[in-house]
């Protein structure tokens, strides 16, 4: 499955490539930031500022962001520039941009990893069955996969968004529950719909890659021998075919994490994510204030770029070290 040679290839790849090292370091930092978000955040990321007229973060009726921004002192108090209190300033409703940047990593990484895992759960068995049985079964299953590939990823995601009710799952935050971080939100909203939609869009790549592997492995001597001994198909698939096709699946999975992070950001930017705690959504909020308050849109964007770069670099490293020549891994986004 994972041989010593593979491991030494990986090590060599890591020590000889500066970019691979950079990717690993970046990802470790991002994961740490996401894990310890409540300890790193300087403010409750959901706490808004308020206008004294209305007592809420939204300006009084008739307030025109574009024309009154410079003169309106109230708005100045809600949306402040970077300072020692608010490291990266506050957004259009007075929430701390730095704290939302830190928390945004959680949503991005969780959706990326969960979505990929879910896509593997659908795509890998699908591909195993298609490739192992071949013939008519393979034909039917792969024609269905072809249909899924007729839709650009984002377009299919938008269609699925139309079907599912947008929902978020509020996951309790263990650090806050343990009382280690005062005043931080007790739960993290994970956009469940987006995770499922991403998996439904991405799985077909896993199906194709796994199928290709299974197709070549099923005619190997050891598989034939196992079949001759009367070992059941499900056992052969799990014990022989799957472990021997795992390398390209891992490389593909790494790159799909980046794809899903970008997909989640895009859907959130378009307002279809169902959660407001997302880098993509922050960019949407910042775009109308781009000229006068660029920090609202700049920093969450940097977060996305860093997350995607780190995952892509790790994907490149794995691909070069394991050299599986996987279809579908050329896509970086």
């Amino acid at each position: 499955m994972i041989s010593n040679r593979t491991i030494s290839n990986l090590k060599q790849g890591l020590s000889s490539s500066l970019l691979a090292k950079l990717g690993v370091v970046l990802l470790v930092l991002l994961v740490l930031m996401a894990a310890f978000a409540p300890l790193l955040a300087t403010h409750d990321p959901t706490r808004t500022g308020s206008f004294s007229d209305t007592g809420n973060p939204y300006p009084p009726p008739g307030f025109d962001y574009q024309t009154t921004i410079a003169q309106d002192g109230e708005f100045e108090q809600v949306t402040v520039s970077p300072s020692s209190d608010h490291l990266l300033g506050t957004n259009n409703v007075g929430q701390d941009v730095f704290s939302r940047f830190v928390y945004g990593a959680r949503v991005s990484l969780v959706v990326g990893l969960l979505g990929t895992a879910l896509a593997m759960l659908i795509g890998v068995p699908y591909g195993l069955v298609a490739g192992y049985y071949g013939g008519r079964v393979d034909d039917i299953l792969m024609r269905i996969a072809d249909v899924m590939l007729a839709f650009p990823a984002l377009v299919l995601a938008l269609a699925l968004i139309g079907v599912f009710q947008q929902s978020t799952i509020n996951v309790p935050d263990p650090i806050v529950m343990a009382g280690l971080a005062e005043g931080m939100p007790e739960t993290i909203p994970i956009p469940g719909t987006v995770t499922i939609v991403a998996a439904l869009v991405i799985w077909v790549w896993f199906a194709r890659v796994t199928r290709g592997e299974a197709l070549s492995i099923r005619n190997q001597e050891y598989v034939k021998a196992a079949r001759g001994f009367g070992v059941s198909d499900s056992k052969i698939l799990l014990r022989h075919v799957l472990p021997n096709s795992i390398t390209p699946i891992i490389v593909l999975a790494t790159i799909q994490v980046a794809v899903i992070i970008l997909l989640e950001a895009s859907l959130a930017y378009l307002g279809f994510s169902g959660t407001t705690l997302s880098w993509g959504y922050e960019i949407e909020r910042g775009q109308d204030l781009l000229r006068t308050r660029p920090w609202i849109a700049i920093f969450p964007g940097l977060g996305i770029v860093l997350a995607v770069i780190s995952v892509n670099l790790i994907g490149d490293w794995l691909r070069d070290a394991l050299d599986p020549n996987v279809e579908g891994t050329e896509r970086g986004a």
């Binding site: 970019l19 990823a153 269609a159 775009q287 000229r291 892509n312």
Partner: protein, 355 residues
């Protein structure tokens, strides 16, 4: 198998895939929550009215009958009516196609124009500063979400390109346009109230009056969106060109042509690059979907009056007939382009087996 036979088979597969795509979209509408008649009429509609619309739209018939009816409609070019605007979906789709097409073509041209020279330079100056620069650029290019890139470009160059407003160009359609006129994109710069400018429009003006003003305006409008949409492809093609040139450059025939005394530039561009084009075209074919998906987002950022923006509106209002129409159209275009790319592939590399 001959090329004609191969293409015929691909065409047959294409028809099957498009039928599948139509079926998927129909199925999604059937399982989608919300009663269509209520969505059409809005919340305040009376039960009686809802019932009447259900009968009128044939929504009370069995799903299988509705499905066959929908298929029949598509074959005859009838995609139904939008629930929101009550206009014919096919007209709403077609009038938006030129804008998206212009953007996609411009983005592809930007990508090819930058990426291929960059890739060649990167490969010939391997491990030199120029190569590191190109590598870093392509890494950033494939990792940057294009909506953010678009906003950053507006922030940095907006003023320069006469973008007067923080969010994009504020371009908007001037109401529905009759069919033939839709071939010429009608784009209007809202703050200045300038006349619509599309590429064909600008060219026609140039031919009629000899004035290049229109063309300049068009160029100003399309530059930033084209760069935004094209960056991912620029990055991807740079990567592919570089690795392809390096692989190909090590082959014996290159040494032979060098020994023959052919100038390096000629070898690089005539022989090596040409052989590198084949994998590039394959990947580009696979990536057309990303281009179309990227267009959806880019259009939103720049308020570009294309199909993508209309799709976002349709999803937002759950206007299923319009959504279905646009998505089926995109799938159709995507599948057709892929067949074209396959044909091109055959043409470029006669060695490729058509089996």
């Amino acid at each position: 198998m001959s090329i004609a036979k191969f293409l015929l088979r691909r065409l047959f597969q294409g028809v099957f895939v498009i039928w599948g795509a139509i079926t998927v979209m129909f199925g999604l509408r059937v399982v989608a929550p919300g009663d269509p008649a209520t969505l059409m009429l809005g919340q305040g509609a009376t039960q009686e009215l809802i019932q009447r619309v259900r009968v009128q739209e044939g929504l009370n018939r069995p799903v299988s009958v509705q499905y066959l009816d929908y298929l029949r409609g598509i074959v005859t070019g009838d995609l139904g009516y939008s629930w929101q605007s009550n206009r014919e979906v096919e007209a709403m789709v077609i009038e938006r196609v030129p804008a998206t097409l212009e953007l996609a073509i411009a983005a592809t041209l930007v990508a090819i124009a930058i990426a291929i020279p960059l890739g060649v330079i990167s490969a010939t100056r391997r491990n030199q500063p120029a190569d590191y620069g190109a590598t870093l650029f392509s890494l950033l290019g494939i990792s940057t979400p294009n909506f953010w890139l678009g906003l950053m470009l507006i922030l940095l160059f907006g003023v320069w390109f006469g973008v007067p407003y923080p969010r994009g160009l504020r371009i908007a359609f001037f109401g529905p346009i009759p069919y033939p006129r839709a071939l010429i994109i009608n784009v209007i710069d809202m703050p200045t109230g300038r006349r619509p400018v599309g590429f064909l429009d600008a060219v026609v003006t140039l031919l009629q009056t000899g004035s290049i003003g229109e063309l300049q305006t068009w160029l100003k409008h399309i530059t930033l969106p084209a760069i935004t949409l094209g960056t991912y492809f620029t990055a991807l093609i740079t990567r592919l060109t570089r690795s392809g040139m390096i692989d190909e450059g090590g082959k014996p025939y290159v040494t032979a042509t060098e020994a023959k005394g052919l100038p390096g530039v000629l070898i690089r561009y005539k022989h090596v690059l040409r052989n590198t084009m084949i994998p590039i075209i394959t990947v580009l074919g696979l990536q057309l979907g990303t281009l179309l998906g990227g267009a959806v987002i880019t259009e939103t950022v720049f308020n570009w009056p294309g199909l993508g923006q209309r799709l976002i509106d349709a999803v937002g209002t759950r206007d299923w007939p319009l959504m279905q129409g646009i998505i089926i159209f995109i799938a159709f275009g995507f599948v057709t382009l892929n067949i074209v790319v396959d044909g091109l592939y055959q043409y470029l590399d006669p060695q490729v087996s058509t089996e």
